[in-house]
């Protein structure tokens, strides 16, 4: 295993941008096709009526809201890895940060689609905007859905900035190495980057500011998502634990998503020299911590409900624990807790393969977790006469499945046009210089002192 430097970093990491193999087109065609199928399915849903989904009285939320929470959860990969690791200046973060930040942006875009897909009248979604209309009607600021709207948009803007800022020097590298139209496009994207000390200083400061700012935003986003549930008087929903439980679950699934993405990138873009087993091992340890935290939250939630012994809650409790939803529930426990605990807890299994297997378990488990929060409770509210079931239809399955293809497609396209590993940060790691590491002293901080 070698640690590449200088020109080799450039050539290795810019190769996907300048060389296009037939496999790229094949991937784009396959995943683009699946995304197209999802789009057509959604248009068919709008055209034929919402009844083509499996939603029915009284389970009015199903696959779409599950997927919404799931994808917003995945989006927490970028924040934790990137922002926290930047702030503590962990050296091993350098090849990982951009993979993570990209996941944040794309998963948020996909997640934010679901509230619109799930609307009965999606063409009126703009009523959530607080725009001055001639009727002077504003959105209802008491509604957690409106909080969602603001939280997700804030997070999206923040994470796009957080992604784009560290790309600027890399855009400049691509600009300098290309000609013609490509040079013009990347030149515009590089925003006149010349690499002067002043520019470096401003960039570092901006990244620091964003890294600090994005963490509370990320925490607030998934707390607000959890408010969608905990603000309603529905059995097993109305609980104070949901905020931190959702945030922990989000970071958990985000790390799993990041591990899978890194393994795939390593394999397909031949980044073995950049993404080392140690990166997987470190992230695997984080996954282990989050698995324990998740287990702690579930244990809390379940035990408190059990001792509270409120009849409506206990009915839902037993539904998931022992009755019709038990197979899904125990699959979730195995995927989210048992599997990561064994694979990440025992050093021998904490390999790249082990990380990927554990991550797949977590992804499946976290998706099921959201499903098990939503559906059993809604189908089993207070009056026995109005108990009900939910069964997804192909429409929902196709649309929910197509978003996974959308994520892959966006990732493939991004890796095609932007170096997926931060070139300048990697080089800075090789030759740390005062201007390239986060400033530590008053003089270096200058007027933009944090």
């Amino acid at each position: 295993m070698s640690h590449p430097t200088g020109a080799r970093i450039n050539s290795d990491l810019l190769r996907p941008l300048f060389q296009t193999s037939w496999r790229f087109f094949l991937l784009v065609a396959i995943f683009g096709g699946i995304v197209g199928l999802g789009l057509v399915t959604w248009m068919a849903q709008v055209y034929r009526g919402y009844g083509v989904t499996g939603i029915r009285w009284p389970v009015y939320w199903g696959f779409y809201i599950t997927s919404f929470v799931f994808w917003i959860g995945i989006s927490h990969a970028g924040t934790l890895i990137s922002a926290i690791l930047r702030l503590v200046n962990a050296g091993w973060r350098r090849p990982v940060t951009r993979c993570a930040e990209v996941i944040t942006v794309f998963a948020l875009m996909i997640g934010a689609l679901f509230p619109i897909i799930h609307l009965g009248r999606p063409w009126l979604a703009f009523w959530l905007f607080p725009y001055p209309s001639e009727r002077l009607i504003w959105p209802n600021f008491r509604s957690p859905l409106v909080w969602d709207f603001f939280a997700i948009n804030t997070y999206l803007v923040g994470s796009v900035l957080f992604l784009l800022l560290p790309i600027i020097p890399d855009f400049a590298v691509v600009r300098d190495k290309s000609t013609g139209l490509r040079r013009k496009i990347y030149g515009a994207l590089a925003l006149g980057w010349r690499g002067t000390p002043k520019q470096w200083h401003r960039l570092e400061t901006a990244i620091q500011i964003m890294a600090v700012a994005i963490i509370p935003v990320a925490v607030s986003v998934h707390t607000v998502v959890s408010f969608d549930f905990s603000m309603a008087p529905v059995p097993m929903w109305n609980t104070t634990i949901f905020g931190p439980y959702f945030v922990a679950g989000a970071i958990f699934s985000g790390i799993a998503g990041l591990l899978i993405a890194m393994a795939v990138l390593r394999k397909f873009l031949h980044l073995e020299d950049y993404l080392h087993p140690v990166h997987f091992e470190n992230l695997g340890k984080l996954l282990l911590v989050m698995a324990l935290l998740w287990g702690y939250f579930v244990f809390n939630e379940r035990l408190v409900t059990y001792y509270g012994n409120e009849p409506a809650e206990m009915a839902v409790f037993w539904r998931t624990q022992q009755e019709s939803f038990a197979p899904l529930y125990w699959t979730m426990v195995i995927g989210n807790f048992v599997l990561p605990l064994i694979l990440m807890g025992i050093r021998r299994f904490r390999t790249i393969t082990g990380c990927v297997i554990a991550s797949i378990g977590v992804i499946v488990g976290m998706w099921l977790e959201r499903f098990l929060i939503i559906v059993p409770s809604l189908g089993h509210k207070y009056l026995p006469y109005s108990f009900g079931i939910y069964r997804p239809t192909p429409t929902e399955i196709i649309i929910a499945g197509a978003t996974f293809a959308a994520m892959t497609l966006l990732y493939v396209l991004f890796a095609k046009f932007v170096p997926i590993i931060s070139i300048w940060e990697l080089k800075a790691g090789e030759h740390p210089s005062p201007t390239l590491v986060p400033p530590a002293t008053e003089e270096q901080l200058g007027e933009l002192h944090l």
Binding site: Y50, W127, L383, Y385
Partner: protein, 229 residues
């Protein structure tokens, strides 16, 4: 300002379902067909819940007509992002169909499950389309709908009374379910007026409210069943 409420005497309710039919007819509630109804898409703003008690052969059948309870502290209202679900001055939980974007959050928050979603555009089996009520708007696909206490009838009587320069009398306003109830199990009226029949019934020691402990402050009073038959 009146505060509209209802009392349902479970001793009188025979479970005949006339109220359900009358509600459908009055409020232009579209029928969805047997197949969709079996899936769980039937829209009964008012339903008669049936509960069996005891073991065979000592089985008792209980009926409970359940409509929107018009809660004073309604969980459906704060969660709506567009104010489609809101509280009127007269204490009704109004639903503005044209303002609804179909998040269905209100229906999830409602502990009584009395809110219904339009999964398709409305249609009626012939010749039912000929009996549509011109006073009630049709709901297009993707909106929530629910019991309004027949707000069109309330408004109609109020306008008539104002034109005749008089107060609305007790019992003058009759929602479709109340009007059609052969056993007179349902009584509608103003809870602010202590002398109205609904107020007097609501003070009955037999009275209780559905899921009262959730703090929703419903305005429908159920008079518990006492007969042994």
């Amino acid at each position: 300002m009146p505060r509209w409420g209802m009392a349902a005497d479970l001793d009188r309710c025979t479970g005949c379902g006339a109220c359900v039919v009358a509600c459908h007819a009055e409020n232009n509630i579209s029928t969805v067909g047997a197949e969709q109804a079996a899936v769980g898409r039937a829209k009964h703003w008012l339903r008669v819940e049936r509960y069996w008690e005891g073991d065979f052969p000592d089985v008792r059948l209980k009926f409970r007509p359940v409509m929107c309870q018009q809660c004073d502290n309604a969980p459906c209202e704060p969660v709506c992002p567009t104010y489609a679900s809101h509280h009127t001055d007269e204490g009704l939980n109004a639903q503005v169909y044209n303002r609804c974007i179909g998040t269905r959050y209100c229906a999830n928050a409602c502990p009584y499950n009395v809110r219904f979603f339009d999964f398709f555009n409305p249609s009626w089996e012939k010749p039912l389309q000929l009996q549509l009520n011109p006073d009630v708007s049709l709901r297009e696909v993707g909106v929530m709908e629910k019991c309004t206490f027949c707000v069109q009838r309330i408004k109609g009587v109020q306008i008539q009374a104002r034109a005749e320069d008089r107060e609305v009398g007790d019992g003058e306003i009759q929602p479709a379910c109340v009007q059609s109830c052969g056993a007179r199990a349902l009584v509608f009226g103003d809870l602010e007026d202590p002398e109205s029949l609904v107020s007097r019934l609501s003070r009955s020691p037999r009275g209780s409210k559905l899921l009262e402990d959730l703090g929703t402050q419903p305005k429908v009073n159920y008079l518990s069943r006492q007969s042994q038959v």
